[in-house]
């Protein structure tokens, strides 16, 4: 059987649909650290840089839940994480401020299922979606949308002015008639 070396670029192309593979073209003169930070998050998380710890889960389950460590906790230091682009780290801490410690450690837990492996998968999924959310850019308006918005604003302004003029004339007509008017 021929040996096959793991091909991570193939992984990045064929992994989950939420995965963004596009990498911005970087200048050759830019140093590697800057090139890393301008890249987009591809969905790949280096598991060796995360710290996993296991404990007992909550909820019913008798002797089994009392004895088996199925709850999974993952933590890592956000500012020193090399796999998250620099520009989204602050956004990440802001979005998940409830889950970030004073020292800057993001802590996620899961005790959803009865199996430790499934809880670990759940925690990885949570982490990945959190980072994707932080990396998501707000969608700008298209030219058509800008045109439509301006057109509607102009129309509503026009309408306001027309009403003002009408109201003004109504008020004026209430006064005593002057010489020369009907």
């Amino acid at each position: 059987m021929q040996t096959i070396a793991p091909n991570l670029s193939a992984f990045a192309a064929s992994s989950s649909t939420t995965c963004k593979v596009r990498q911005k073209s970087t200048d050759a003169a830019e140093p590697k650290e800057e090139a890393q930070t301008t890249q987009q998050f591809s969905g790949h998380i280096p598991v060796e840089e995360l710290e996993f710890s296991y404990s007992r889960s909550s909820g019913p389950g008798g002797q089994n839940v009392n004895k088996v460590s199925t709850k999974v906790e993952v933590r890592f230091h956000v500012p020193s994480a090399s796999w998250i682009p620099q520009d989204i780290k602050s956004k990440l801490i802001e979005l998940e401020h409830n889950r970030v410690t004073k020292e800057g450690y993001l802590v996620l837990t899961s005790d959803k299922t009865r199996k430790q492996m499934l809880n670990q998968a759940d925690v990885m999924d949570k982490l990945r979606s959190i980072v994707f959310k932080a990396a998501a850019k707000p969608r700008g308006l298209t030219d058509q949308e800008i045109q439509l918005r301006d057109k509607r604003l102009a129309k509503s302004k026009e309408e306001t002015l027309r009403e003002k003029r009408q109201r003004s004339m109504k008020k004026q007509s209430r006064g005593s008639p002057s010489v020369g008017s009907v």
């Binding site: 059987m1 096959i4 091909n7 193939a10 992984f11 064929s14 790949h44 492996m117 670990q120």
Partner: protein
């Protein structure tokens, strides 16, 4: 001039083996002469008048208008087509770990259905439409053995649990004839028949065994490697490097899709008594067993 004995010997050599389809009785069966009764005249067994005599009887099962018996009773198809469905008796990962810990299964060789049946604690019964072993998820958390595993059915969590510990899993289909040999190889070899070539899975199983996500034996190796990476990312473990492993040759051992036993090819005959392996040489045999 050839003697009668020579002719007889030549005939015996060339004629086919005597079987039920090519022998005749010594005295041919004669048809009994039909004897007609004189008494069955006049109404000829039909009685007098009525529908019976006028050939206007209704269909069989008709009860004069009320819902007939065969429509009144409801259908309860609990076991409909059960005899056509494949069954995979389950074996938990916990049981497998226990087998390994107690030394019932050797981890230094590839573990397939033969090894599991040899423990005597796991049984596959072909007459009950069993098609192999289904490795279930119970005990996946505590599984800690590095093995080259071959099963007939399994799930993603089990695959992740095995690969996390540095092992490999393959799902493999065996047709009933091959499975019978695999379950009890000793009994099969004692019959001294040629090792059969394994057949491809049926249509509804072909997709399962061709899919890399199930580690099917018909899937491509590159796709399987991609799936290994994907699973490691999903379940959050570092994928052990198989190439750096000293036991990697054993872990990479795979059977050919038509091969039944490691080290033996289809068409070979194992003679246990004389401790020989007989291999066919004629091109017709080789072509047949390669097809």
């Amino acid at each position: 001039m050839a003697s009668t004995r020579d002719t007889a010997q030549r005939l015996i050599r060339s004629l086919p083996r005597v079987a039920l389809h090519n022998i005749k009785s010594v005295q041919p069966k004669t048809r009994k002469k039909v004897r007609r009764s004189f008494a069955k005249g006049k109404t000829h067994g039909r009685g007098h008048k009525g529908q019976g005599q006028h050939m206007t009887l209704p269909r069989l099962g008709f009860e004069g208008g009320n819902t007939p018996f065969y429509l009144m009773i409801p259908k309860e198809p609990y076991y409909q087509n059960h005899h056509l469905r494949r069954q995979y008796p389950p074996l938990t990962m916990l049981s497998l770990q226990r087998f390994i810990d107690l030394g019932r299964v050797d981890t230094s060789i590839p573990i397939d259905l033969t090894q599991l049946c040899n423990t005597g604690l796991f049984n596959v019964n072909i007459d009950r439409k069993h098609f192999g072993v289904n490795l279930t998820e119970e005990g996946a958390d505590i599984f800690a053995a590095k093995i080259n595993l071959e099963v007939q059915w399994t799930t993603e969590l089990v695959i992740a649990a095995v690969e996390r510990n540095g092992g490999t899993v393959t799902t493999r289909y065996y047709d009933p004839k091959s499975l019978r040999a695999l379950i009890d190889p000793l009994h099969f070899f004692k019959r001294s028949t040629a090792i059969p070539r394994c057949r491809l899975p049926p249509q509804d199983a072909l997709e399962y065994y061709s899919s890399a996500s199930n580690r099917g034996y018909l899937a491509k190796e590159e796709d399987i490697e991609v799936e290994r990476q994907r699973l490691a990312q999903k379940y959050g473990y570092v994928l052990p490097d198989l190439h750096a492993d000293p036991g990697s040759t054993m872990l990479k051992m795979r059977k050919d899709p038509g091969q039944l036993f490691y080290g033996l090819e289809p068409g070979w005959v194992v003679n246990l008594k004389d401790r020989l392996v007989l291999k066919p040489k004629s091109p017709e045999h080789l072509e047949f067993y390669a097809s």
